[in-house]
Structures are given as structure tokens and as C-alpha cells.
């Protein structure tokens, strides 16, 4: 297991490099929230989820809904790395004619289940998927990844209420709680705490973890499968911009991409030199 975690750590590091390079190239996109969520996505795509990049619509797959759709670059680099589409496609992120839309679009991108990005809507779709899978007696699970700023949307609580009402134990909600939103600190804009208590009072089994501790993420996701009769909410405390020191905990890097000057420094933070070789 220890070796496996080291492998996943290395995978997360290389995906962070892909995120930084992709966003530097596109000159448009959301850096901070992509870097805060990537450890969770790494564990989901490379450890937890049953999926087949060569057969994206395989009926037996687990589903991932990135409700905080602005972190699409994080999902895109993982999908490309898994082989859903060529890594070359990342250069067309947010470009006319490319399939990698600014926010996830199931119509064009293999591996994307639904359209997200208008905050608050993804969890409802995850609830619908979980209901549908249960009707089919499927053992597939649904993972919905939310932001903490997104919890300000009322629809999240409608959906959580429904997930609990319908006892959706095939649904796991992950909250990327990086504490920041576009205008500043979540706590100052519109406080959402206590997040764990809120999900708990809405009927979820709640665990709170360090969202960059891969072992903790693995354990939380593994444990979630043994919870019956209620959905699980994993409140993952994260750092916006994680991995690039000068991006970390800065709301200003919510929707800003690395400049030409910042790129080499960002790659250096990630243990990579600018020309692509290992440091």
C-alpha cells in the first residue's frame, strides 16, 4: 500500500504539472481550484473508480460528476492521462474547435458524464444517476465533487435532502473545501460552516479529512462503501493553488492562469524544470 501511495503521489504531481502547463497554454481557466481538487481526482481515477477509458460509456463504470465545473482542467488532464483522449487535445482547452470546453461538456468530451459548471447543479444530476443505477440494481457508484463556495447555492441542499431521503448509499459527495471563492474568503463572503454538521444534519454520513493526504482520501473512499442506507459526505480540507507556493491560498488565482514569467517558477515548485525534464 505504501508503494501504491507513492505512485499516486507521483501521479498527482505529474497531473499538477499538466494542469499548470495546460492553463499556461490556454491563458484562460481556473488554476486555484484545479490544484486544490487534483489529489482527490487522482485517487478517484487511479485508485477507486471502476472505469474504462477505451469504453467511456461502459455500463459498469463508476460515475464522477465535477459539480465545481470550473476545475475542469484538473479533470481533463486526468482523463487525457488515463487515455480517454489524446494529451494533445489539452492544447485546445477553451479554444474554438476543441472539445475541451471551459466547463465540462458531456456532448463532446469522452469521460464527462454531464454538463456542469453552473454551480449547484451537479449534485442533483448525481442524485438522478444514483437513483437510476439503483433501479438497474447496478453496483456502480456515483462520486460528486463540490466546492465549498458552491455550498452557498440552495440547490445543493435540495439535492442533499433528496440523497438522504432516498437513502442513496451509492452516492459519495466530496467537498473540496479550500476556503476561497472568487471574491475572497468563503467565511467572509457568505459563511458555510459548519459544513460537516450541515451535511450530517441533512442525513449524510460525514467524514472530515485533509484533502491532500492521499492515504486519508483512500481510507475515506474505501470506508464510504461500507456505509449503508445513507449518502456519504467527505469534507476535504484543501489549499487553493496547492503545490505552487505563490498560488497557494490566494483568491486572486481563482480564475487566473500562470503567466510566462510564472510558468518556470510554478514548475520548479512542482519539481519540474521548464524544459520538461526531471529536476
Amino acid at each position: 500500500m505504501k508503494a501504491r501511495i507513492e505512485e499516486l503521489k507521483e501521479k498527482a504531481r505529474s497531473l499538477r504539472i499538466d494542469i499548470v502547463r495546460t492553463l499556461h497554454h490556454s491563458k484562460s481557466g481556473h488554476t486555484g481550484g484545479s490544484l486544490s481538487v487534483i489529489d482527490m481526482l487522482t485517487v478517484l481515477y487511479y485508485y477507486k473508480m471502476n472505469h474504462d477509458p477505451k469504453n467511456p460509456k461502459w455500463a459498469g463504470r463508476d460515475r464522477l460528476v465535477l459539480s465545481k465545473g470550473h476545475a475542469a482542467p484538473a479533470q481533463y488532464v486526468a482523463l487525457a492521462d488515463c487515455g480517454y483522449f489524446p494529451k494533445e487535445d489539452l492544447k485546445m482547452l477553451r479554444q474554438l474547435g476543441g472539445h475541451l470546453q471551459g466547463h465540462p461538456d458531456s456532448k463532446g468530451t469522452p469521460g464527462i458524464e454531464v454538463c456542469t459548471g453552473s454551480l449547484g447543479q451537479g449534485l442533483s444530476m448525481a442524485v438522478g444517476m444514483a437513483l437510476g443505477l439503483r433501479l438497474d440494481s447496478s453496483s456502480s457508484r456515483v462520486y460528486a465533487v463540490l466546492g465549498d463556495g458552491e455550498l452557498q447555492e440552495g440547490q445543493i441542499w435540495e439535492a442533499t435532502m433528496a440523497a438522504s431521503h432516498y437513502k442513496l448509499d451509492n452516492l459519495c459527495i466530496l467537498i473540496d473545501a479550500n476556503g476561497l471563492q472568487i471574491d475572497g474568503e468563503v467565511a467572509k463572503i457568505m459563511g458555510v460552516e459548519p459544513v460537516a454538521d450541515k451535511f450530517s444534519s441533512f442525513g449524510c454520513h460525514v467524514v472530515e479529512i485533509d484533502g491532500h493526504d492521499l492515504q486519508a482520501i483512500i481510507k475515506a473512499l474505501d470506508d464510504a462503501e461500507s456505509i449503508k442506507g445513507q449518502p456519504v459526505a467527505i469534507v476535504a480540507r484543501t489549499v487553493k493553488g496547492k503545490g505552487v507556493s505563490f498560488f497557494e491560498n490566494k483568491a486572486s488565482y481563482h480564475g487566473v492562469t500562470p503567466s510566462d514569467e510564472e510558468l518556470p517558477k510554478a514548475l520548479e515548485c512542482l519539481g519540474e524544470s521548464c524544459n520538461g525534464g526531471e529536476k
Binding site: R63, D105, S106, K107, E113, V114, C115, G117, S118, G120, Q121, L123, S124, M125, A126, V127, G128, M129, A130, L131, G132, L133, L135, D136, G154, Q155, E158, A159, M161, A162, H165, Y166
Partner: protein
């Protein structure tokens, strides 16, 4: 007059039939299943019915998720909530991904009656028509409702079906063949054409009868599909009769009248009079009183016809 049935009652009946035929059909409601008539399906197929409570935004999103899981969801509530409260969910979660969700809204228009303007949706056709990927259908009677719901279930993509609360006259018979996107001529005429949708088509038929007594020959076309609109039947009517009156239980802004105006302007400009609510909200009252109050009676259509004829 022929038999009377509310389109929502016809919906409840066909939904139960379809449920027995196709186990992929699932139904969602937002605490109005008795009124929208989805309760019959709920009773027959409890595992495939989801009452989502008074939370329309989540209901529409959940429907999109069910569609993503391969189901054919029918989501029902009053038109004002399906289209108003949940508009952005309809746009982002249903229309944008082209999810196979059927939104069947009842209690549209002023004939909701006593509940008043807050509950009378008079702009839903315009709003739904503006959304890409959306098909918009407004059946005229119970028979057409059943055919339209069956067609919606067979069609792969988002559909909005607008139904009413009250009993309306049956104008179609069992031989009627409903096709999404096709208008149908119900009465021949040469002097002008009424184009109606929903319950207003029956009013147009009555108006045409009155006009014939005055020696005026009015064609009557029923357009249940507002989008995609049947351009050819509109252009032919303009070319052959030279004047058009549209009739809808909806605002004259952006609904059937707006859609017909767009086709005429693009393809064959002709005098047009739009009959509907004149950019105003509804109000409390009995349904038949409100149809009179808002100028949606056959006599109002006769007046509109005479006015538009002067512009020929």
C-alpha cells in the same frame, strides 16, 4: 360540443400506459402529483416514481441525472415552476447536454383560474422556445395530449409539453396522426387564417364558424409544436389567404404569435394580428371569466380577423 377532458387528465392516463410498456420510463413530481395527474403512475409503478418535494430545481437536475443513467424521465409540476423556478436547471442540466428529459407542465395560462397571476404562467412558451435543443409542444385536447406524450417518449432529447388544468373540448378523433413539428389544417378557408395552439384552437374553430355566417372564409391551423415550428404551413397560409391571426393562452410576446411573426418576416410578410395576453400578468377569477376578461373568446378572434382583413 364533443366530449370534454382536461389535458392533464389525458397525461395521467397515457403516462400509466407508457409505464406499463416501457420500464425505462420514470416520473418525477414536486409535491403536485394529484394536480399534475402523475399520481396514477406513482400508484402503478411506485419504484419508478420520485416525489422530489417542493424543490423544482433539484427535480429537474435529478431528471437529467436519471436520463444520464439511461432512463426516460418525465418531470412534472405547474408550468410556472417548471419553467420559472427551474429555468436555469432546464437550460444547463437538460437542454445544454441535450438530456433525454421530458418536462410536462400543467396549469399553464390564465385558466389556472382562482390561484391568480402568481400561478398563471403566461411566458413559458417564449422562455422554452428560446432555449436551444428544446422542443415545445402545446396540445389542444386530450387525444392530442396522449399522442404528443407518446411521441415525446419516443423522441430522444429534451421536450417541453404545456398542459392545462381545465376540461377542454375534444377536437381530434382517433384517426389523428400527431407528428412533432407538423401543424395541421382543421378547416379550409381563403380570406384569412387563424393559427391556434392549445385550447385556443377550439376558440379559433368557433370564430371561423361565426365568420362564415358573415361570409368570411377563415382557414384554421393548429400548431401544437411551437418549436421546431412548421414554417411551410405558415408560409402557405400567408400566401393563400393573405392574413393571419394567431391565438394563444399566453403573452403575445415571444410565444406562438412571436414565432409566427418571425416566420412571416423571414419568408412571406403578411398582415398579422396576435391574440393573447397583451404583455400583462393574469389575475384571480374563474377560468371562463378570465378567457373573456383577457379577450380570448371566439368573438375576440372575430374582431381580430376583421381588423387584420382591413390591412390586407
Amino acid at each position: 360540443m364533443s366530449s370534454m377532458i382536461a389535458t392533464r387528465d389525458a397525461y395521467g392516463e397515457i403516462l400509466a400506459e407508457l409505464g406499463a410498456e416501457n420500464e425505462n420510463i420514470v416520473v418525477l413530481d414536486a409535491d403536485l402529483s394529484g394536480s399534475t395527474k402523475t399520481a396514477g403512475f406513482a400508484k402503478s409503478f411506485p419504484k419508478r416514481f420520485f416525489n422530489m418535494g417542493i424543490a423544482e430545481a433539484n427535480m429537474i437536475g435529478t431528471a437529467a441525472g436519471l436520463a444520464a443513467a439511461g432512463k426516460i424521465p418525465f418531470a412534472s409540476t405547474f408550468a410556472i415552476f417548471a419553467v420559472g423556478r427551474a429555468w436555469e436547471q432546464v437550460r444547463q442540466s437538460v437542454a445544454y447536454p441535450r438530456a433525454n428529459v421530458k418536462i410536462v407542465a400543467t396549469h399553464s395560462g390564465v385558466t389556472v383560474g382562482e390561484d391568480g397571476g402568481s400561478h398563471q404562467s403566461v411566458e413559458d412558451i417564449a422562455i422554452m422556445r428560446a432555449v436551444p435543443n428544446m422542443t415545445v409542444i402545446v396540445p389542444a385536447d386530450g387525444i392530442e395530449t396522449k399522442l404528443a406524450i407518446r411521441a415525446a417518449a419516443a423522441y430522444n432529447g429534451p421536450v417541453y409539453v404545456r398542459l392545462g388544468r381545465n376540461k377542454v373540448p375534444t377536437i381530434f378523433d382517433e384517426n389523428y396522426r400527431f407528428v412533432i413539428g407538423k401543424g395541421v389544417q382543421l378547416r379550409a378557408g381563403t380570406d384569412l387564417t387563424f393559427i391556434g395552439t392549445g385550447l385556443m384552437t377550439a376558440q379559433a374553430l368557433a370564430a371561423a364558424e361565426k365568420l362564415s355566417e358573415a361570409g368570411i372564409s377563415a382557414r384554421v391551423i393548429h400548431l401544437s409544436t411551437i418549436k421546431p415550428i412548421d414554417e411551410e404551413i405558415i408560409v402557405a397560409a400567408a400566401r393563400e389567404t393573405g392574413a393571419i391571426v394567431t391565438a394563444e393562452e399566453h403573452s403575445v410576446v415571444g410565444g406562438l404569435g412571436g414565432a409566427v411573426a418571425e416566420v412571416l418576416c423571414d419568408r412571406f410578410p403578411a398582415p398579422l394580428k396576435r391574440v393573447g395576453l397583451n404583455d400583462r400578468f393574469g389575475t384571480s377569477g374563474k377560468a371562463d371569466e378570465l378567457l373573456k376578461y383577457f379577450g380570448l373568446m371566439p368573438d375576440d378572434l372575430v374582431e381580430a380577423a376583421k381588423e387584420v382583413l382591413q390591412r390586407k
